[in-house]
Symmetry: C2
Subunit: 435 residues, 2 copies
């Protein structure tokens, strides 16, 4: 038994080892054969099931050789995978994040260099479903994403859609801000007739319980069966391994920091559920729901426009100083999305500040996440409406924020801004009475 930090990776190459390692939440154990690695910060293991996983050296607590032999120690250099060119073509467009990377992304520099071959080595089931092509766009930590990236992603994906080759496009993305990006792309790529699916993974691939495989397979499966386009999110639906939800890009929200089923469809049902047959992936089923029926089947996709980032997302809290409004005015913000309390409220002392700032258009969402604004019930809501605040009903704050950037990219006229913000583009706002 070697303690963490003792011994170099070279000692282990080709040997079968047991490793105890730390991860996000606890210690875990894994067994496999050590492969050569392009960095000495990471140990790469080939598992019995054929998958490769990377473990950060600094997370390793104990590593020890075992006497066991792998049934088949595969070629150490990854082999070229032959694909069936008659199968539908699916593009995997990588923005970043843990998902679909061979190695945990905090090793730096390694994860983004994945090819279709890498992916197919990692997830061999993919080739039984589709003819996979891979496109490495960036290796962004999703917390660093900005509107500039959304514009560039939309532009690149737009071109790929226009190519007309693909049955669908999967965008792999870190989960931190995946729901902001799915919102932005829902607007920028509004009108796509093929599914564009954002896929993340909550568990890095250095964990046996990683969700990346099924999240990806779920997206592919939906793409194959869907007759309609749109922007969606594909992640685990619950604790069971074999169910994946397909959620509207404007309705997804990350609701847990670490669970596999962190993404929930808020204030609207899911589009579809993919239920895997774990013994034979081809027998897996896609169940379609009401939200799928509501999708348009023939739409017109236009070139994605520009975003304007002079939008501020302001979470109200009790006793907050309304001077923040003057600051936002000074900084040149044109749209402020207020995440209000209850049915869409802020303190009375905000109202005059709001009324005064004629250069800012104020919109209201709710910080309860579930439910909707209803500013006609209590006096505060009525006064806020009178001061010019526009309610966005059941639109998520995060989606309202990215929609604001989209709308401001088109116009700076107040009336047009209000008109565009309150006209649903891709199911971001409903009129459904929900109690």
């Amino acid at each position: 038994v070697f303690k963490f930090g003792i011994g170099e990776i070279m000692n282990y190459i080709g040997k079968m080892v047991e490793i105890v390692f730390r991860n996000a939440l606890k210690e875990d154990e894994i067994k496999g054969t050590i492969l050569p690695s392009s960095t000495d910060k990471t140990y790469i293991l080939k598992l019995k099931n054929g998958y490769n996983v990377g473990i950060l050296k600094e997370n390793i607590v104990i590593i020890k050789e075992t006497q066991e032999k792998m049934e088949t120690i595969e070629t150490i250099k990854e082999k070229k995978v032959s694909q069936d060119i008659n199968k539908p073509k699916v593009l995997i467009f990588s923005v970043g994040g843990t998902i679909a990377s061979k190695i945990d992304y905090n090793t730096g520099g390694v994860s983004a260099q994945f090819s279709a071959d890498d992916l197919l080595n990692l997830i061999p089931e993919l080739k039984s479903l589709a003819n996979i092509e891979a496109y490495s766009f960036s290796n962004l930590l999703s917390e660093n994403i900005t509107s500039k990236h959304w514009e560039e992603i939309a532009k690149a994906v737009y071109k790929k859609i226009k190519d007309g080759e693909y049955k669908g496009i999967i965008i792999t993305h870190g989960t931190d801000t995946l729901h902001y990006t799915s919102g932005a792309l829902s607007f920028l790529l509004n009108g796509t007739n093929i599914p564009i699916i954002l896929v993340g993974a909550q568990r890095s691939s250095d964990r046996p319980s990683s969700d990346s495989t099924y999240n990806l397979l779920g997206a592919v499966k939906f793409i194959l069966e869907s007759k309609k386009g749109g922007v969606f999110v594909s992640l685990h639906s619950g604790n069971s391994d074999n169910e994946i939800n397909i959620i509207l890009g404007t309705r997804a929200r990350k609701m847990h920091s670490s669970k596999r089923d962190a993404f929930k469809s808020i204030n609207k049902g899911i589009v579809a559920k993919v239920i895997f047959d774990l013994r034979n992936i081809k027998n897996s089923k896609v169940e379609f729901f009401e939200a799928y029926n509501e999708l348009n089947s023939e739409q017109k996709l236009t070139e994605p426009g520009k975003l304007n980032n002079k939008v501020y997302l302001l979470k109200f809290f009790p006793g907050q100083d309304p001077q923040i409004i003057s600051y936002l005015k000074k900084e040149g913000y044109k749209i402020v999305i207020i995440e209000g309390t209850g049915l869409g409220h802020v303190a009375d002392n905000f109202i005059d500040f709001i009324r005064k700032e004629k250069d800012i258009v104020f919109f209201m969402t709710v910080q309860t996440i579930y439910g909707r604004t209803n500013m006609g019930v209590y006096s505060t809501g009525i006064k806020l409406k009178d001061a010019g605040v526009i309610e966005l009903k059941d639109m998520l704050s995060e989606v309202a924020f990215v929609k604001g950037q989209h709308v401001l990219g088109k116009t700076d006229k107040k009336a047009e801004i209000i008109d565009l913000m309150t006209k649903p583009l891709f199911f971001e706002m409903g009129n459904r009475t929900e109690e």
Copy 2:
């Protein structure tokens, strides 16, 4: 049939009518006998079940007389209710909100003038359980509440606890910010040996589906059976009429704008569930859970201290300008709670701004609400910790915000602030590994 706006209330007094009215979400129908009202803006009806409800005149769509007779038309003037002085004494301390008010609070001025008699007329079951005393503190819309109110409420409730007369105290409060107040009181009244229970109502009492009655009865029932003190929240647990959850004051969060079961216990189980026997309220049961067992039974209550409101709750969003940090510094904020993405992240370009501001203590919570920070997993988290950001694990942002005010009221020394913030006072932070 008279259309809305026609006919004065005087025409109807003592008569049985059917009213169609608008409310928050849809039209609703109600039947009862019109009582005299202290305002012509509101019609007060006595229902068959003995309850009085108020309906805003402007919400009335149709009012018509019926031929039906009430089984018993009770005295129009509310009668003095005799109570059993041998029953345990429970204080109802009214801060504001719809709950426990005879009339919808947006009529203005009416709701706060309630007496124990009013309450007992409204909810006759109360007197079968306890000897109720009422104390009208204020008639605040909860979105207008500030740290000054929290200080005053705590001081007043502290005195009532010290009186030693009460088995428990119920604080009626608007639901918009009820979870902020429950957090603040959890810290200010930390050490109470009787239950202090915040009770709200999601449906105003002018609706047949109002939840105020059971929320209140649930709180009383818990008070009678609990052997331990603390600050809690009592609201509906689900769609069923007869189940009320008792949630730790530091774990409650409003998660729906309008549902009766809007309040969820986040990252920790509920304290108790009250299950009503609707035929006989006295046979109702209180089920206690693990969180109840964890409560201290003997604590020392000290006089509630001051709050310092130089705390800012900052929700991070993609592309946010880090200049906001300089603004918060200029405005004299001493603590900033950052609601980060994922496991507690912000964009890289925030890190230098944070590192520079030595006068502000930065804490991190998660905007996923469920789950916790874990800033040792990804490079961004590690860099943020290095820049001085302290993670608050599974503490709710709203609770972190009020705890910051509490801690800053005690000390302005950085090391002490960090020490107090990260030492749990009333279950606001756990070390439990939750996946």
